[in-house]
Symmetry: C2
Subunit: 151 residues, 2 copies
DNA sequence: TTAATTGCAAACGGTTTGCATGGGC
DNA sequence: GCCCATGCAAACCGTTTGCAATTAA
């Protein structure tokens, strides 16, 4: 395994349970939601009240750089984070975002077809534009049923 | 035509050419780039130096609410804006974003196939989740050729 | 002992708001 | 005259940075 010393221990929950990095990984492992840095911070201080918000940001940045965590921006003015391989989440999913209440639904409908097309597109784009593509996002924006009733 | 009084005049360039709204529309019409509020502001004060950045934000917000402008968030910590029907831009396109230098390429490869699938997906999602879907975004993230050489 | 990790407070940068002025109808 | 549009300055808020203290290897 490559990377810094602690990377290979990321999923070893027996290791120094109160280390901020372990706490944050645990929080992300135990949710199927898209948490913001603040969400994670609020949850983290329940386990270790001395954790700082700065550490949460730095940890998330580190994790997203090494690909353990994926950072999303749904246009709310704050980032949201997901564990890349979350056992509680559908493997490959995309997002359906309510522009009103900001709720997010993960969907997997047509992902197989989608994936096929995306792979094809990715390959073509890589060659045509000489891009080294890491990942893609597909978001649908609209208004959820609850918000539609209220309006 | 529905909407506020000035909406029907959006494309009437003879009308009060120094009004901030007209200036901003002109700027967006004459570029094929994804401009940030600041980009637009810097361009706008060349035409009318008394325009304020606040007005740029308020105008863009208004335009994106009525669907004249689409707001994008590529995860840079700032929003970028495109005219929905920009004559200089490809009709329906998606984005290829360099995570390093933040350059954005509009691509149209496979858009027809993509569009077909997206329409199908959109319809299915609308029904399944009772969402009223307005639009979608597809972004590929990777590293462009220039940045790859530098690293 | 040496480098990495962390918390605090302050800075930062994009965006929004309060408020008073100005311009169109 | 009334309402909407606008500019300015200040507030806001998520995020980043400088720095000193702590911890791990």
């Amino acid at each position: 395994m490559r990377g810094p010393w602690w990377q290979k221990r990321l999923y070893d929950f027996g290791y120094r349970l109160t280390s901020p990095r372990q706490i944050i990984i645990n929080i992300l492992r135990n949710t199927d939601k898209h948490l913001s840095a603040e969400d994670i911070y609020i949850d983290a201080i329940k386990t270790n009240p001395s954790i700082g918000l700065t550490t949460v940001y730095r940890t998330l940045d580190l994790f997203s750089q090494i690909g353990v965590v994926q950072k999303f921006d749904f246009g709310e003015g704050r980032a949201r984070y997901e564990l890349t391989n979350n056992p509680l989440k559908k493997d490959h999913h995309h997002h359906l975002v309510c522009v009103n209440c900001k709720s997010i639904i993960d969907y997997t409908d047509f992902v197989n077809e989608e994936l096929e097309l995306m792979n094809k597109t990715e390959k073509a784009l890589s060659e045509k534009y000489q891009f080294n593509i890491f990942h893609h996002t597909i978001n649908f924006y609209g208004m959820c049923s609850k918000c539609r009733i209220k309006e």
